[in-house]
């Protein structure tokens, strides 16, 4: 008998404490032992997790109005400029924006982390002044308690798959993929592989607009497809599927988040970024979905890319799977090199476990997508037109 489940059936089981939930790692030996059909029968939800640097992140903040009021036209939080071209006291604070006094040592991501941890943030704003908003400048301090809204809204998070970065240059280079040593001296990669949300539902059967997710320690939602969303897959000459670029735009209440699952980071020579913790529960609606979530590191392939090449299309130096990468050493053009994950597998595992526990306790219910992502998308370059 082929199992079919609905979201409502799964949520009913969660509410009555009868749902069976495992993580995307725990499901692997279960499927190996019992097979897809039996596992589909027994398991209701599989949880995934990722905790890595996600540069396209930021926060929407509303400060409330001062008396006399000001229509803020330029705003700085701890000397980090936030975009103020939205009404009077709304800003968007980008994670990668550097501090004007400390440069790359502090940035938007640090302001976000400091806000979450309850610290006082220095606010400075200037304006031309208008009849309805006469004030021309303000300096004050804010905390997450003092402001109206602080909403994390990240336009591109949770990359489905990502390149392995190496460098053939004769000098050390500093990239968003970390420090790359000369002459293919190391290799850096950045996904949680078999635990990664979009690698466990690569066809986006259950992940779409409106999906409830674990975001930074609280419950958030998928707002849209992520920017640069590219759902198509490639097949290499040996028939292996290479996932490229499914991405997510996510949203959630910053005030409820925890610095255990959101952290500011600095990549030397590149800049500031935000390390974001995301977990997505995947409902086992049928055996096709069970097949997807039982994916193993050795079945997920990615390309080794030369980041020293200064153009958009960088040369590929071969392919490798995540089992090889996670073992700590790979061979690139005949050379054995150490690998670095950049994305924390230990934390990804912790997030998938935490999400599992929240669902088991009935605190987290599954939300069916309100709308699915597009099946196809174009990845357009920026043309220089004169």
């Amino acid at each position: 008998m082929t199992i079919q489940r609905t979201y409502e059936e799964i949520n009913t089981k969660i509410r009555s404490g009868k749902a069976v939930i495992v993580t995307a790692e725990e499901i692997i030996p279960i499927v190996e032992k019992k097979g897809i059909e039996k596992a589909t029968e027994e398991i209701d939800v599989v949880t995934t997790g990722t905790f890595g640097p996600m540069c396209s992140s930021g926060a929407i903040i509303n400060f409330g109005h001062s008396d006399p009021p000001i229509r803020m036209q330029k705003v700085w939080l701890n000397d980090v400029e936030a975009y103020a071209g939205l009404a009077a006291v709304d800003v968007y604070l980008g994670a990668t924006q550097p501090s004007e006094s400390q440069g790359m040592e502090y940035g938007g991501a640090h302001v976000i982390e400091d806000l979450i941890s309850g610290k006082k943030i220095k606010l400075r704003a200037i304006s031309q002044g208008t009849d309805c908003y006469p004030r021309r400048e303000i300096e004050s301090y804010i905390t997450k308690e003092s402001i109206n809204q602080a909403v994390l809204f990240n336009p591109r998070n949770g990359y489905q798959n990502y390149n392995v970065a190496v460098s053939t240059s004769d000098r050390k280079i500093y990239t968003y993929m970390g420090i790359l040593l000369p002459n293919i001296g190391n290799a850096n990669y950045c996904t949680s592989g078999q635990l990664s949300p979009l690698l466990n539902d690569p066809q986006f059967r259950t992940i779409g607009i409106g999906t409830r997710i674990f975001l930074g320690g609280t419950q958030g939602y998928i707002a849209w497809e992520g920017t640069q969303f590219y759902p198509q897959t490639l097949k290499d000459e040996e028939g292996r599927v290479i996932y490229k670029g499914g991405t997510l735009a996510v949203i959630g209440d910053l005030k409820e988040m925890s610095t255990d699952y959101i952290r500011a980071a600095i990549f030397k020579g590149y800049g500031v970024t935000l390390v974001v913790g995301i977990g997505i529960p995947i409902p086992i609606l049928n055996s096709e979905i069970m097949k997807s979530v039982s994916v193993k590191d050795e079945d997920i392939w990615t390309e080794i890319i030369d980041y020293s090449f200064p153009h958009l299309k960088k040369p590929s130096l071969g392919r490798v799977n995540y089992k090889q990468l996670r073992e700590g050493k790979i061979t690139v053009q005949g050379k054995d090199v150490f690998t670095s994950p950049l994305s924390s597998y230990a934390k990804a595992r912790e997030i998938a476990q935490k999400l599992k526990e929240e669902i088991l306790k009935g605190e987290f219910l599954l939300q069916e997508p309100i709308q699915k992502f597009p099946q196809e998308s174009k990845f357009k370059p920026l043309l220089e037109i004169h």
Partner: protein, 135 residues
Amino acid sequence: MLSKKVIFTFSPQNVERPVTYQLIKDYNLWVNILQAKFEPSLGGKLVLELKGEDKQIKEGLNFVRQIGVGIELLEQEVLWDEKKCIDCGACISICPTGVLSLDKETFKLKFDYEKCIVCGNCVEACPLQAIKVIF
């Protein structure tokens, strides 16, 4: 056979003493210079790996202390703030001696201080500024 990594701090008064020569000749120690930074008028720092019998290492270090050279054991000089660390592993691949790795079971970072040559690569690679080297 013991192996120890040490930092010697020289003052202008003792900067010209041939310490490595004496450790080799008088104490029969195997000496590997990992880092050296000297300015004759100001003093200097020397990071060494010493191998030898326990007694000889102790006596050799005692001699160095007697001539007024500061001694610190290297383990104390690599400061890894485990609370800040998120186990991302960015430090692993740039380490020339394989000091850093992820535990095969827990995937948490491991530090094998024995192998460390205090090059500082991990310090600049750590996105969370969780590693410091004092040199």
